[in-house]
Symmetry: D2
Subunit: 428 residues, 4 copies
């Protein structure tokens, strides 16, 4: 499908498909950010980009400079407006603000990044069949963030037209996958004066017509990249001369899974990726791995993270190798506020296309947690809500897709909830 | 450098540089085999190719069909004579035979494959500086097999011109790296009637002018590819639903290195490569590794291989995963025969360019071992000889190169040794 | 303190101290069983002993024949009535039954075994100070079962005197520690016709005056003894000749702790004891370990047990050793019945010495679970209740003791609850 | 058998049987040392005991004070002369010196300790059958040191009677098993002026009549005791609160065996003993293990020891536990001197009962290495010689015994060799 160069004349469904077709993974969302920013400014919003939208020093899991540069060039080659790319200064994500009246300041958080995975390209998959599958090999909107960004824009359009008695702040958060962008956006300063925050997710394996007014209690999560560095040696001639990074990694893996369960609640540990690559006759001088820990509370997650660091440190000592760790991403826990949940429920019940309103819990993790906590710590309230989308295949799979009606429902429920969060509202 | 399409008018030094520039890794030596075969037939040798040169059922570590096909197409695109490629039937390597007289049947074994590694491309490296570095990314003659093949051809040319009282058999062995081609060539049937065999290696960190009349006692070696196959699962939601291939691999690695040392002599174990690749939040469903064992005798190598298989089997059981193993390559041990060594020494001493003759031992492994053993088991005698080449950098490194005079010395010493192995020779 | 040879003229407090002083660990309770049986028969109860009290084929974690014989001889030497010891036929534990009227059949389960640990012998510990610390080195009533048995006898005395409209069954269960005696007693057949069952525990770190009407939701538990058997060898001369049982044990331990957490709830794994004993220069031919798994449901416990067996099997395969496993003990989960809980609460509130009635959950495991489940499966109801005893030191520690008033409260609450469980009771 | 209280009137064979019957393990040889010392002083030798015989600060693997005291009391109870025990000041071992003439100073080293193992007590074992099996449970002369000490005394008796032109020094070394006493005796100062040293071993699986003139090239060896110390915790309630010493030990064991083999020669690693002892439901707070490393050179042994320390350190870090290590024993390598070997060979050939003289190599380790090296470093020469004894069962086994003729052969060969080491000797 032909890439849009502006969203001005496009419908929300067209925009969602355009974003789907040009999926950009975390910290590579140049085109997505720029096109959203251009449209938002056109709608009258004040748009903050780059270091004005996320705190650069808090960014985690940022790809190499070369990868970021390649993503930027790709976006420009696809017709992305260069002025916006320039303003971003290689930092994706946007915050859009507009004061419509004296009432409360209300935020809407939508994430915008794609996953690093290949989309299915056969006719069983509607995006492929109808020509809007991702043209970027190895990048795919397999978690619905294309719809999220579109919903955020839909809310912007609605209020640009209708107004409301308050200030609207739209957070288009980058790099949610892996929990890399939530913390830096939460430190941007833009959250601190919010009275209320709504975050939204589509899909959740719920049917279209179902709204989740409170989707909470995720596991806190941390992801750490580890590199063990030793010395190579000929495995036949003088194996002793090596410092075996792979032995260290194997010892670490074996013992990471063995970190003691915790009496206070759920904990998790996983090593998702390991790589060491030499000929068979060379003692491995480098081994990398990607580790993830979780806990049902912040403290349990910190317990796992602390113990994991000890295991990694000990494994390196054991095999006389050096190591480095880098935090790839991190999320925390949150609980939604009853008062906001109830407004969402009222809004959902008032929406024609909604036939069921439920509350559920997260199985996984979310870095909206940092934004929600920031708002709550500053005295505001929040909920994370879900919009059923009859997704035909699970999140993160190659065949993930949504019923696009979910976008309309999302915009309607959120705009209605925002109106109802206004104390001067007559529709409580 | 422009690829030759025939070796007829080329000098040995030119041929070596042409082979160096078009390095082909194991089981991909289509161009090398074809050009050598064409020239050998032109010289009057009977050339056996494909299944007539190596026993297909004994081949180890053969790349995938796609990789082999790509190598074949590359060779054709570089102007390799198609008729020879066709005769090979996707099996590289060649045996060339010519009967010159009634005397003994004498073999010369040279290997022809390159390594899977990138060649240095800067001016510190003569092949790069003088324009004959490998044009095949990731493939490089870093072990001197380009010189070996050239020496074999040089011997063929010398006797085609001068003749001698006996039969000459030239073995251009594929896939020596990893020990994959020696066994299948040893089973070709062409070794069984040899009276004597000479195998040759250049370099060995010896200076030009030094000849090693006996280079023996290598470690026996076996390389095994292992794949553990489990089930993926979400590491946060239901880690129990996974069958963790990476945990199995880590347990295997930890315990492979712990296989008991042996009272009878040297043993070795190494895992050179491991790969498992998932997102951090997915229990690994597949992990692969490349294992190598060695022993200073065949039995010690078998002890290590047998114990390694037990460890791998147990690791899979532990973590309830399936596994498969494939023998990637294998070598055995050998000892050279004193009678042949002495003829080589006499020949070397009779060669002007030679100023020192020594005997040394292997640090590593060699699949010429299978050819040498085959000859010895059939009643013949053999030696593995070395030609110093003042190599500026170690074998298998990106800067490996040779003093090309070694090619001339190699041809001279081997042809002279062959003459002296003839009992009717007057030059003993 | 001088050992009693009959309980006839002793007060409950004297009996508790006598039992405390002659602590007998699991399956060694010869004296305890015999003295209780003699007294119960004197009170008019029909007493079942040996195979009539527990199903011998279901017994777990039974000490060796030599150890059992030594315990039997010790009991006889301490003046235990030989006739009762003979009737036991080396199987400890007793069931006492008396029909007082036509009303319901109600059971009381108390356990009678001591722990295998040394009691504190200094004056900070009242049993030592006042002369009733255990005279059996390495055996101690550190979990209050001396009080439990006494409470059971107290209930028997009360009803022998007062009667009630129903049948009373008293279960004096052996070998609760480790979860070894509950299953075999539950299979005795005596549980199947119970209308209600009350099980009791003292202490629980609650103050005297507190009664726990429902103490439930324990973790299911299984304990397994493992022996790895290999071959010894001289570690210097021919380490290869060994089959290293210790390496197998170490691999097992490392990987047991690494069994994946379960998405459905709490799981636990521990290795409490390991032993391998050779000179430093001998490859270990035998290693033993004691493993424990738990789960918050029966299925989770079975998941852990099944996975633990796979890990052990794989570890043995890895190191080419044999192994055997033996189930040392096992418990399951249970939930108390609301109707019985409420009767206990009413009874407790009616007891002067009780000032607080609460409900709590188990942190650990209990093999009363099998008796409770058996009753519930047969259509009866049950609760596991607790009697606060202001224990000065935690359960299983060397300084564990109780406020003996808890015995009186226990008898009072249980007898009152039994009366209230009688539908013809006027005190509901 | 009745214990001797003096060796004065006893034959060598009687003395050997008396020592055999009262086997004393390393650093417990109170009776052995005292009776030898008394007899040596009676023969006119100057006897050094306690800190005058071994350097106390260099002692390794010394039992606890309680164990040493118990051994001392046992010796006294067996009638050992108290004056000698007092002079020893709890340090076993003796050096006896006598100057007979102006010639060279020649040393004879014999070790005196027993093994910590139970002797066979059935009639298949001659010491049991004939009534001189060890009366000390768990201690046995299973390596022939009873014969060694006797040979040393025999040499003393011979020269006391016959004299020779030189000075004789007899080293009765304690605690050879485990390599604990050689180093401290080598630092006593008594070795430094030796011209020649003869050390002797009986058995070696050689038949009676065979003498080994040079028994050398042992593996260097180090033994280390390791204790991991963590924190206990209830494995069900709060496993996280523990610091698991057993997990640390298991990780250490797994990785100790995986220390890389060395290109320069033989290395060895073993863990002979592990102990952790808790109930199944307690996270282990303490685990101990006994580790041994070896190398065919001093440097290789140090390589193993250094790497083992890193593995242990890393294992402790991994599981957040503390640890301590203590060197239990240590030996080094040595080579015998040709000149001394030849004198021994001449002496053996001159001995009637000798029918074969050979040279062999050690499979194991010996702490005579320190004495031999000390002599060689001071300019002297040495050999370690062996006396075949037709031992019916291997060294260190419960059925080890010797043909006692070996004692006579030992005395004869050594005294004759000493005479021949005298340059003024006429019997060269």
């Amino acid at each position: 499908m032909e890439a849009l160069t502006s969203f001005s004349d496009a419908s929300l469904h067209e925009i969602r498909r355009d974003l789907h077709a040009h999926a950009e993974a975390g910290w590579k969302e140049f085109r997505t950010t720029a096109l959203l920013a251009a449209e938002l400014e056109e709608l009258g919003y004040e748009v903050h980009l780059g270091a004005n939208a996320v705190d650069p020093s808090e960014r985690m899991g940022v790809p190499s400079d070369d990868e970021v540069a390649a993503a930027r060039e790709r976006a420009l080659n696809e017709g992305t407006p260069a002025a916006y790319v320039e303003r971003m200064d290689d930092i994706t994500g946007a915050v859009a603000i507009k004061r419509f009246g004296d009432g409360p300041t209300i935020g809407v958080r939508t994430d915008i990044d794609a996953l690093e995975r290949q989309e299915a390209m056969d006719d069983d998959h509607r995006p492929a069949r109808e020509g809007f599958a991702s043209v970027h090999p190895g990048e795919m909107h397999a978690c619905g963030h294309d719809a999220h960004a579109t919903i955020g824009l839909g809310v912007a359009r609605t209020f640009a037209q209708e107004g409301f008695d308050g200030t609207l702040k739209l957070f288009f958060q980058p790099a949610e996958e892996g929990g890399r962008g939530g913390k830096p956006m939460s430190e941007s300063g833009h959250l601190d004066d919010l009275d209320h925050l709504l975050a939204v997710h589509v899909g959740l394996d719920e049917p279209i017509g179902t709204v989740v007014s409170s989707y909470d209690a995720p596991l806190a999560n941390a992801k750490v990249d580890v590199t063990f560095s030793g010395e190579p040696a000929h495995a036949g001639g003088e194996p002793n001369a090596g410092r075996n990074a792979l032995q260290a990694a194997a010892a670490a893996i074996g013992n990471l899974y063995g970190i003691a369960r915790h009496g206070d609640g759920r904990t998790r540990i996983n090593v998702g990726r390991v790589s060491a690559d030499n000929a068979q006759n060379v003692i491995c001088e480098e081994a990398t791995m990607r580790v993830e820990v979780r806990g049902s509370t912040h403290d349990l997650n910190e317990y796992m993270l602390g113990r994991a660091r000890e295991v990694i440190d000990g494994a390196a000592t054991m095999h006389d190798v050096d190591y480095g760790t880098e935090l790839y991403g991190k999320t925390t826990t949150f609980e939604n506020d009853e008062s906001v949940i109830e407004r969402v429920e009222a809004a959902a019940e008032a929406t024609d296309a909604v036939d069921e309103v439920i509350r559920t819990e997260f199985g996984g993790s979310e870095d909206a947690s940092y934004l929600i906590r920031r708002v709550q710590e500053s005295g505001g309230t929040a909920t994370y809500l879900g919009i059923g989308a009859s997704n035909p295949s699970g999140h993160h799979t190659a065949y993930f897709d949504i019923d696009e009606t979910a976008i309309d429902i999302g915009v309607d429920v959120i705009t209605e909830a925002i109106r109802r969060l206004n104390p001067s509202s007559s529709v409580d």
